[in-house]
């Protein structure tokens, strides 16, 4: 390489997109995207659902071909479109959120899977695979047992395996889709350390994520997409969550603290010294009637585990739960529902809804007993009517309640989940990460519903790991870490920044 081309290689970005567009039928997914990522850069790509970011990534992975007129430039070479094998040989690797690993195979086999694909008849000798895998692990300074089955590894280690697989396939730019969503704080730090090593190796990393607090430590630039167009590329240090939200939605969202002091209300739910081995320990809290109590913590803090115990899905090893002053003995979640506790799971698609079934049955499933008119009969009309009334009450955009729930948008789907639990007339409503995957615009709508409920006297436990979500929508916020409640904040008295600091400390 001459001195000239070295200089130009530095000046030229590794990946450059020019005029990339994509239409699906009549819908414009991407429009005139100009984007570049430098060699070894850590770049963050953000956008809401429908912003086009997944289409963009799929174009780069070779899954889709962009519409004509644009070009993709990788390390100086120009292409109108890419095939999957082309993308791979050029060094483009995408790690989707499910990691695409083989849980039944060993770490070694997963990392060296490419060798498996291109070997002739026999599987490549163990020596060759071991060298490849060992080299990848070594470059990341990661220590993993090659013979371990991926199924036995925790998520953070699986991620390392996925990254190593990319490295072993000579990745030069790695796309990671929401990589920190399932990681504890310590694991996030491990990931970021790995990313720094990748950077040192000259591998560019593009995060698709909006969890700025974590990314800002390593990310240099952030590119925001909205409605298929690039809003702009900004230095990470100049952004904060609010600004990012505004850029993503194009709207100014004003936040107002709603916290009220409700300590003189009677307690709806009381937890005393709740302990469950390995999940949470000696946890106590009081939730007053009509109060919104925020429970914030990062993954691994034990929030969902506590919620599941309150909902009766798991049993406490010790401690008590009191509802309206009376001690609860929950053998199953049916007991909890009967007592008046409702739980909106964080896994909306898998656990909150029954996607292929009609909206009406999704809403009525929790209260079938109440719709019985004789001999255990529940007329379809009764279910429809119930659903229609909730559709009206919660403003769900669903013209036909017999349509499958999967035809609705994320925000509307979440409202259906809320409807089904509100139909049970709960005393306590536990919301676990209720706006995950919901567009920012729709988030406000859901917060509005939640606040209305609180005004009507429902006690709400709002579990989340997003600071603004709990800060602006709770009367009090409890901070949970490592299975214990370690702090209490009152929005307005404590600042949003203080809460954020405590969370990421």
């Amino acid at each position: 390489m001459t001195v000239d081309s070295l200089a130009s290689a530095d000046a030229k970005p590794f990946l450059a997109l020019s005029g990339i567009g994509k239409k699906f039928g009549g819908t414009v997914a991407l429009d005139g995207i100009h984007w570049s990522v430098d060699r070894g850069e850590v770049h963050c790509l953000v956008g809401e659902n429908g912003s086009g970011k997944s289409t963009l990534i799929k174009i780069l992975a070779g899954v889709y071909a962009p519409d004509s007129g644009g070009s993709i430039s990788i390390d100086g070479s120009r292409y109108a479109s890419l095939t999957p094998s082309q993308a791979k040989s050029l060094g483009v690797q995408v790690i989707f959120q499910d990691l695409s690993l083989f849980p039944n195979l060993t770490v070694l086999e997963n990392i060296a899977i490419d060798h498996q694909l291109h070997a002739p008849f026999l599987a490549p000798p163990a020596r060759v695979m071991r060298e490849a895998a060992g080299a990848a692990l070594g470059r990341l300074d990661a220590r993993l047992r090659l013979e371990a089955l991926v199924r036995d590894l925790p998520v953070a280690q699986r991620q390392i395996v996925a990254i190593c697989r990319g490295l072993a396939a000579n990745a030069r730019i790695l796309f990671m889709d929401e990589p920190t969503a399932s990681l504890t704080r310590r694991e996030v730090e491990l990931l970021l350390r790995t990313v720094r090593r990748l950077k040192a190796l000259g591998v560019a990393v593009v995060f698709v994520s909006h969890r700025l607090e974590e990314i800002v430590e390593v990310a240099e630039r952030v590119t925001v997409l909205r409605d298929g167009r690039k809003v702009g590329t900004f230095p990470a240090a100049q952004l904060n969550n609010h600004r990012l939200a505004e850029l993503m939605t194009g709207a100014r969202i004003t936040h107002q603290i709603m916290a009220r002091s409700l300590r003189d209300r009677r307690p709806a739910l009381e937890v005393r010294g709740a302990t469950r081995a390995g999940e949470f320990e000696d946890t106590s809290l009081v939730l007053h009637q009509g109060e919104i109590l925020g429970l914030i913590g990062l993954l691994g803090a034990g929030r969902t585990e506590l919620a599941l115990a309150l909902f009766g899905m798991t049993a406490l090893d010790s401690g008590e739960i009191l509802l309206d002053g009376a001690r609860l003995d929950l053998r199953s979640n049916q007991d909890a529902v009967k007592a008046g506790i409702a739980y909106v799971s964080e896994d909306r698609l898998g656990l909150g809804l029954n996607l292929k079934q009609p909206i009406s049955d999704n809403i009525a499933i929790t209260v079938l007993d109440r719709l019985v008119y004789a001999f255990g009969l529940v007329a379809r009309r009764a279910r429809s009517r119930l659903a229609s009334s909730w559709v009206a009450q919660l403003g769900i955009g669903a013209p036909n309640v017999e349509a499958p729930v999967q035809t609705l948008s994320g925000g509307n789907q979440q409202r259906v989940v809320l409807a089904k639990w509100l139909a049970t007339d709960p005393k306590v409503l536990i919301l676990d990460s209720p706006t995950v995957g919901v567009d920012i615009r729709n988030k406000q709508g859901i917060y509005g519903v939640v606040r209305r409920l609180a005004k009507e006297g429902v006690a709400i436990l709002l579990i989340s790991d997003e600071v603004p979500e709990v800060y602006f929508n709770s009367d009090r916020v409890l901070h949970m870490r490592n299975g214990r409640i370690v702090g209490e904040f009152v929005p307005g008295i404590a600042s949003e920044h203080a809460l954020s600091e405590a969370l990421y400390a």
Partner: protein, 372 residues
């Protein structure tokens, strides 16, 4: 709240949303039903045209009504677990063992000259014993599937082999025959031209329809079939529902056994072995989703008629029973092909980020949809 009287445009709006709702529910199942009815008409037409003297007669219709009940009851016994996301491969074996038990009581224990009130008592006892044995089978199956979490394919393959082995062993392969006339009358006698057995089947099918569409249990069965975990999180005792599913399936097998005893005047371990495939065919043709969550008894009913028309046609054309069995297999595959390659006939507007969950079928029929 608007208080002004509805103007024309509002009425129009209401009408179109009502229409939307009707079309929505039509698309969900009824286009299937009308399509099936059309197919049935076509089949009847085809066979009538090719055999104008033998086929389109009242006797043909009546013969079909004699033959449908046992297959129909077994198909119901297959359909209910399918809708719940599972399967019951042991339905024939369950019916046969119940038939053998009842037959044994009526031939080996009861004196052949019994009549009157004593006969009634014996009959009652035999029927009760048969029912009890099916209840036991259903409970065991249900408990293994629901509480121990064993895959329904394996459990029912196991119970099928067990029951079949038991039946063969106890009878050494013989059949038992010679039942009281009262019993065989169920399949011999008619009421206004309709065989009693068919009337019984029609009643049971209606009851099944009502159960599945309009009872708590029915709604829960559908929901479990589509997504077991989500239904559990919604506060439904999914284990209890699953036990009920296999209990109902086995009780339907008992009814089928009674009808078979009445029709064949005998019981044996190997009767109706080829029916297993046909019950699956009838269920799927009738609109039951093999992955669970959906199915209409009305569709099943029409599908049974369709299959019976074809079977009667085959019979009249003297087609070998083996070729007939092969045809059932081919028809099942054709039906699946049609369902697969005509998405236009299905409702589903564009799906958004859906994730299909069919936890009762982990491996052999993993959905091809991409979860990410």
């Amino acid at each position: 709240m608007r208080v002004a009287p509805p103007g024309l445009s509002e009425l129009n709006g209401k009408l179109s949303s009502e229409l939307d709702r009707v079309i929505g529910s039509l698309r969900q199942g009824a286009i299937g039903i009308s399509g099936l009815l059309a197919l049935l008409a076509v089949l009847i037409g085809l066979f009538s045209l090719s055999m104008p003297t033998t086929f389109p007669r009242a006797t043909t219709l009546q013969a079909m009504m004699f033959q449908i009940p046992e297959l129909g009851l077994l198909s119901l016994a297959m359909a209910v677990p399918l809708i719940s996301g599972g399967i019951n491969l042991a339905i024939i074996a369950t019916a046969n063992q119940a038939g053998l038990l009842m037959a044994w009581i009526l031939t080996a224990l009861m004196r052949q000259d019994t009549n009157g009130a004593t006969l009634a008592l014996w009959l009652f006892g035999a029927l009760a014993a048969g029912l009890l044995s099916c209840i036991v089978v259903g409970l065991v199956t249900g408990v293994l599937v629901a509480i121990l979490g064993v895959h329904p394919i394996l459990v029912t393959l196991g119970t099928m082999t067990l029951l079949h082995g038991l039946s063969i062993d106890l009878t050494r392969g013989r059949t038992l025959s010679g039942f009281p006339d009262v019993l065989t009358a169920i399949s011999n006698r008619t009421l206004w031209g309709v065989p009693i057995s068919f009337g019984l089947f029609a009643i049971v099918a209606t009851a099944a329809h009502v159960l599945l569409t309009s009872t708590k249990l029915g709604v829960r069965i559908h929901m479990i079939g589509s997504n077991l975990e989500s239904t559990r999180y919604s506060g439904v005792d999914t284990r209890r529902v699953q036990v009920w599913v296999y209990l109902i399936s086995s009780i339907l097998c008992w009814l089928a056994a009674v009808i078979m005893m009445a029709r064949f005047n005998s019981a044996g371990a190997d009767i109706a072995q080829s029916y297993l495939l046909i019950t699956v065919l009838a269920a799927i043709l009738g609109g039951v989703d093999p992955y669970g969550g959906f199915g209409r008894i009305a569709g099943l009913f029409i599908a049974l008629w369709m299959l019976q028309v074809i079977a009667s046609g085959f019979n009249l054309m003297n087609v070998s029973p083996h070729l007939a069995l092969a045809s059932w297999g081919v028809i099942l595959l054709l039906v699946m092909a049609v369902k697969r390659f005509t998405p236009a006939l299905r409702l589903a507007p564009r799906m958004r980020g859906s994730r299909s969950e069919s936890p009762a079928w982990p491996g052999p029929n993993r959905r091809p949809e991409n979860p990410s």
